[in-house]
């Protein structure tokens, strides 16, 4: 029988609705980050760098790009004869012709108990595709074993004033968790859960079977963890003190990207012995034209820059034509910015085309009229495969997606805080 000490289950089915149009047709873990990467590259690379060679990736929302990206796991060295990466979508079960979606984080794992049992693991690592970080999970496992824990939860200290946005762990002096509060109004500690768990599989398996009979939407944060704490199980906190960014909102996503352009960024992507791997079609160099100016920016494979790029992050095969100016922006893979276009503080998703002399990010920073919870910090977002015609002006906190034409823009303008979705 197969025997793996620990396998990983990566929850990659979430939409990430606070990323607005960036997740229109792309699951959040497949959203590009830091130029050439996708968010899921970080947990996948951490797995292989930590010595975990068996990873189940649970997909649900818009899985096409994600599934293609993962393939058989070659870029992460996860193409294995025994183990490797397996994409696990929801499926139809006998006696339930409709099939059922993954209704909660623990429910998703519950549906894949057979996959896990096949590897007969001692421990199981549950990950989410929500964070950008480098972590050695084998050290966390050592802690888990040392404490003889049933569950170990990675936590990070957050400033007290933003603690109410997180799942907060209240721990005793030995970092044993005594209470878990999901987004508490009056937090008692600042230890936020990173959504990274190690469970002793026998214990979790039992908990999953039990909880699934009680909750239809069985969830780690809401049900499994509190139940374990209340049931006198040994649940420990594992403090993580290194770089980690949640990129759940447009603002956080933008800031985390911009941080990478600093002269010495806090997040080191140059570590030879902890490389972040990604699926790159081919390994092209970049060409910088005769009139180009590029400052404080990151450029990925195959970019061609003829215009000006300041304090920005460009994905693979982005083309910036003559006279175009890109400032404080993120431009994802295979997007073309035409001559004379002007981009300020915006995020342009994959495979877009921004027309000649078009401006994005101008005018007043009024919050979005209907989606102020997504677009309020002045950043405009352009969804993937969007075309924006020549000579239009787009304000701040805007959202544009689809094949837009001149006539969709009244007087050639999309006012700040508005959406244009075709």
């Amino acid at each position: 029988m197969n025997k793996k000490e620990m396998i990983a289950m990566l929850l990659a089915g979430g939409q990430g609705s606070r990323l607005g149009t960036l997740t229109k047709q792309i699951a959040k873990p497949a959203v590009m980050f830091g130029g050439k990467y996708r968010i899921i590259d970080f947990p996948l690379s951490n797995c292989i760098n930590s010595g975990i060679d068996t990873v189940g990736v649970l997909t649900q929302y818009e899985p096409l790009l994600l599934t293609k990206h993962i393939g058989i796991g070659i870029p992460w060295d996860l193409d294995r004869r025994n183990g490797g990466v397996t994409v696990l979508p929801p499926f139809q079960k006998k006696g339930n012709k409709q099939g059922s979606w993954y209704s909660g984080t623990a429910n998703a794992i519950y549906h894949n108990i057979r996959y896990i049992d096949d590897y007969n693991p001692e421990y199981i690592l549950v990950l989410s595709g929500d964070h950008v970080y480098k972590m050695d999970y084998s050290e966390m496992l050592e802690e888990h074993k040392k404490n003889q824990a049933d569950a170990t939860i990675a936590v990070i200290e957050v400033p007290m004033d933003i603690a109410p946005q997180f799942g907060i762990m209240n721990a005793d002096s030995e970092d044993r968790i005594v209470e878990f509060e999901e987004k508490p109004a009056h937090p008692k500690s600042n230890l936020a859960s990173m959504g990274i768990y190690i469970f002793t599989w026998k214990v979790l398996r039992e908990a999953l079977l039990k909880d699934n009979t009680i909750h239809e939407d069985s969830d780690f944060g809401k049900h499994i963890i509190p139940e374990m704490i209340n049931g006198e199980k040994n649940v420990d906190a594992y403090r993580f003190n290194d770089y980690c960014r949640g990129i759940g909102t447009i603002d956080a996503y933008w800031k985390a990207n911009m941080e990478l352009t600093e002269t010495v960024p806090v997040f080191n992507l140059y570590d030879e012995f902890w490389k972040i791997y990604t699926n790159t079609e081919h390994q092209l160099p970049q060409y910088i034209g005769k009139e180009a100016i590029i400052e404080q920016s990151l450029l990925s494979e195959g970019c061609e820059v003829y215009g000006n790029v300041y304090h920005s992050v460009l994905g693979p095969k982005v083309i910036i034509e003559e006279g175009a100016v890109v400032r404080n922006s993120i431009v994802m893979g295979e997007t073309i910015i035409r001559k004379g276009a002007n981009l300020e503080t915006c995020i342009v998703s994959e495979k877009c085309e921004i027309g000649e002399n078009t401006s994005i990010g101008i005018g007043e920073a009024v919050p979005h009229v209907t989606k102020s919870h997504i677009y309020s910090t002045g950043i405009s977002a352009i969804g993937d495969n969007t075309i924006i015609p020549d000579n239009v002006k787009i304000g701040k906190n805007c959202e544009v997606s689809g094949h837009t034409l001149q006539e969709h823009y009244e007087d050639g303008i999309l006012e700040s805080g508005h959406s244009l979705i075709i």
């Binding site: 830091g34 070659i74 140059y270 081919h282 160099p285 970049q286 494979e301 790029v309």
Partner: protein, 369 residues
Amino acid sequence: MRAIGIILAGGKRSTLGVLTKQRNLAAMPIGGSYRSIDFALSNLSNSGIKKVAVISQYSARSLADHIGSSKWWDFGRKKTGLFLFTPTMLNQETYGYRGTADCIYQNIDFLKKSNEPYVVITSGEQIYKMDYEKLIKYHEQKNADITIAYKDMNTYAVEDYGVIGLDDNKQMIDFEEKPLNPQYTTVSLGIYVMSRELLIKLLEQLESEGRYSLVSDIIIRYRKKLKIYGYHFDGYWRRIRDINEFYRINMDFLTPEVRNLFFNTYPYISTKAKDEPPTKFNSSARVTNSIVSGGDIVNGQVENSVLFRKVFVGEGTVIKNSIIMEGVTIGKNCVIENAILDKQVYVSDGQSVKGTKEDIILLEKRNIV
């Protein structure tokens, strides 16, 4: 599969000086991301030829490292593969490879164990993009014994090439290796197609006569006995024959034609994945008309140059008309002009390395200035 491929990756050439001291000619860095052999490997794979032997005499280490995993070119399949053949020392009497025909003869089992009807032979030091399927079709259509790809070099000096003379029907009537007084401007590209069985027969014949060269003992010697045809190729084609040509080929990648051909036109050239982070431009970077690659960190000025991966350029440094290979570190306030810096060269603050347009300066691998 219609053909198997053979890449002759000979090894050294004195005209490349220290560049090939520890490096096979087929592993020469080209265009920011590639090694020279990537072009032959990609052409074969893209033409549907997935069983390929790379035959190498010298300095195979850099080559073995590069092609060790054949997956980047999509070769490692059940019925196919990429094989690296180096001379085998069986006893004291065994020879190294004695010539281009001998090196294939010594690996004749590779030919005998295959069942594909044709063999495509090319070399690992050429920069070009060719669909060999078209070459094979032409070969069949001409009912040729051997077909040689050729190119009209026009005004380009051809003394260092195999010069080929063809009649109106493209049949070869003359072939001169590196002639002092060339009669034609058409040169053989060293790319051949012939039937696998004919090649086996010829190699066994040659061996019994103590002859070892593909060009002089087959192409030239059999020119009247066999039907040898020329296949006209008019795309970009260069061979790394000396340092100047190596410099020039890399600089060619700054022209839109060459970039478009290799970077933007399907099918693409593949190379070993290196997983470097994106290129970083800091606030004092000024890069114009240059190629930069993954893992580079640029603080200074770079003009008309090709930077390979993981190059660091310090503040106040000016690099012009130069080729900077992987892992080179250049400190602050340096001047680099008309130079080739081999891998892992280290230039400390304030130093200058200057060649001239006519005399490119070359710094050996791991040199410290």
